[in-house]
């Protein structure tokens, strides 16, 4: 049985696509056949973060509409074995995704892949609902910031009431909290919600904390998922998330601020 994972958040710009790209890549690096689907019809970006934007010929909506075969639309990742990308359409509107169409494609993918990662668009409208509807597990991507936390809670409500698992009275979607853009220095200064605060408010288990890091922008500039840069803090944090997702018990890292010495504070520390 393929596991369907949705990466969702409600709020935009919190790191859903970055997370989808890295988690899908991480699962494939661990030897699992994985496909990552861009559900952001009209505003596709996953192809850019995965560095395969010039290889897109057919897309998700083409497959749903029967204009292309699934194997024609799937892009095999050049860096990572076992990994494929199904890009979103750039031209259609979000209504092009139908329950029947999405289900058909997911069923086909489930025959060939162990993990199906669904990169949700922002918002709580049609596209976001389609991305989460068939999910078995959800990674709730949240920034330590009021609007992001509130929107994550809204999305949790939707997972618990409008997903297929909720509608059919099945075991609920398994929820994981992923805090991204965490800045321990600002937390120490009392300028940012800490991990415990966010966990307490959302009351779901924490799967990882990704530190705010220049390596994330660098990776997106290059079209390489940040998890591939395993000397960076964000890359290592994502690797930990993937391991935890697969059942390993690892302590959380990158939660503490580097203490600046007196001189560093005096002369405006670098880093």
């Amino acid at each position: 049985m393929a596991r369907i994972i949705v990466v969702t958040s409600g709020k935009g710009g919190v790191g859903k696509t970055t997370t989808s790209a890295s988690i899908a890549t991480g699962l494939a690096l661990k030897g699992h056949r994985t496909v990552v689907i861009d559900f952001d019809v009209g505003l596709r970006n996953l192809d850019l973060l995965m560095g395969c934007e010039r290889r897109v010929v057919y897309d998700f909506v083409n497959v749903i509409n029967g204009e292309a075969e699934l194997h024609q639309a799937l892009i095999r990742d050049k860096r990572t074995e076992n990994l494929s990308i199904l890009p979103a359409s750039q031209t259609r509107d979000k209504e092009a995704l139908t329950f029947e169409g999405v289900e058909k494609v997911l069923n086909l993918l489930a025959k060939d892949f162990e993990f199906i990662v669904c990169d949700s668009p922002a918002g709580i409208e049609h596209g976001a609902l389609m991305a989460l509807y068939f999910a078995d597990e959800a990674i709730i991507t949240t920034n330590p910031e009021v609007s992001s936390v509130r929107d994550s809670d809204r999305i949790l409500g939707i997972l618990q009431s409008k997903s297929r698992r909720a509608k059919e009275n099945l075991e609920p979607v398994k929820e994981h909290l992923l805090v991204t853009r965490y800045n321990p220095e600002r937390v120490t200064r009392g300028e940012m919600l800490n991990i415990t605060d966010v966990e307490e408010i959302l009351a779901i288990p924490l799967i990882g904390v990704i530190p705010e890091s220049s390596s994330v922008l660098k990776a997106s500039n290059q079209g390489v998922p940040v998890i591939c840069n395993n000397e960076t803090d964000a890359g290592q944090a994502y690797s930990d998330v993937v391991s935890r997702f697969l059942g390993e018990n690892l302590p959380h890292r990158f939660l503490e601020a580097n203490r600046k010495g007196f001189l560093q504070r005096m002369f405006g520390g670098i880093g």
Binding site: E145, V146, V149, R150, D153, R154, G157, S161, V187, R189, G190, E191, M192, L193, N194, D197, E200, I201, L202, A203, F262, R265, M266, G268
Partner: protein
């Protein structure tokens, strides 16, 4: 950076604590309404009916409050009984 900034303990303006408190309240409120807790007025009426079977009380003598804390909700019913 001024000399004062260098030595101060940076605790005075803890905006994260404000954020947490605001979130705690708004999230509890929004969860309440999505979990169908708008049944409170109906329940209040029913409880009043039951009490009225035994004692004569007025509508304003009954006060029902639902408060959410941590992982539990507390239903508080206050009834003023006439002497």
């Amino acid at each position: 950076m001024s000399l004062m900034q260098l030595f101060r303990t940076r605790k005075e303006d803890n905006s994260a604590a404000i954020a947490k408190e605001r979130l705690r309240i708004i999230v509890a409120h929004e969860r309440g309404s999505r979990n169908g807790r708008d049944f409170l007025p109906d329940m209040e009426r029913d409880i009043l009916e039951v009490i009225r079977k035994y004692v004569e009380v007025q509508q304003e003598c009954i006060d029902i409050k639902l408060d959410s804390q941590d992982d539990c909700s507390i239903l508080e019913v206050n009834v003023q009984l006439p002497n």
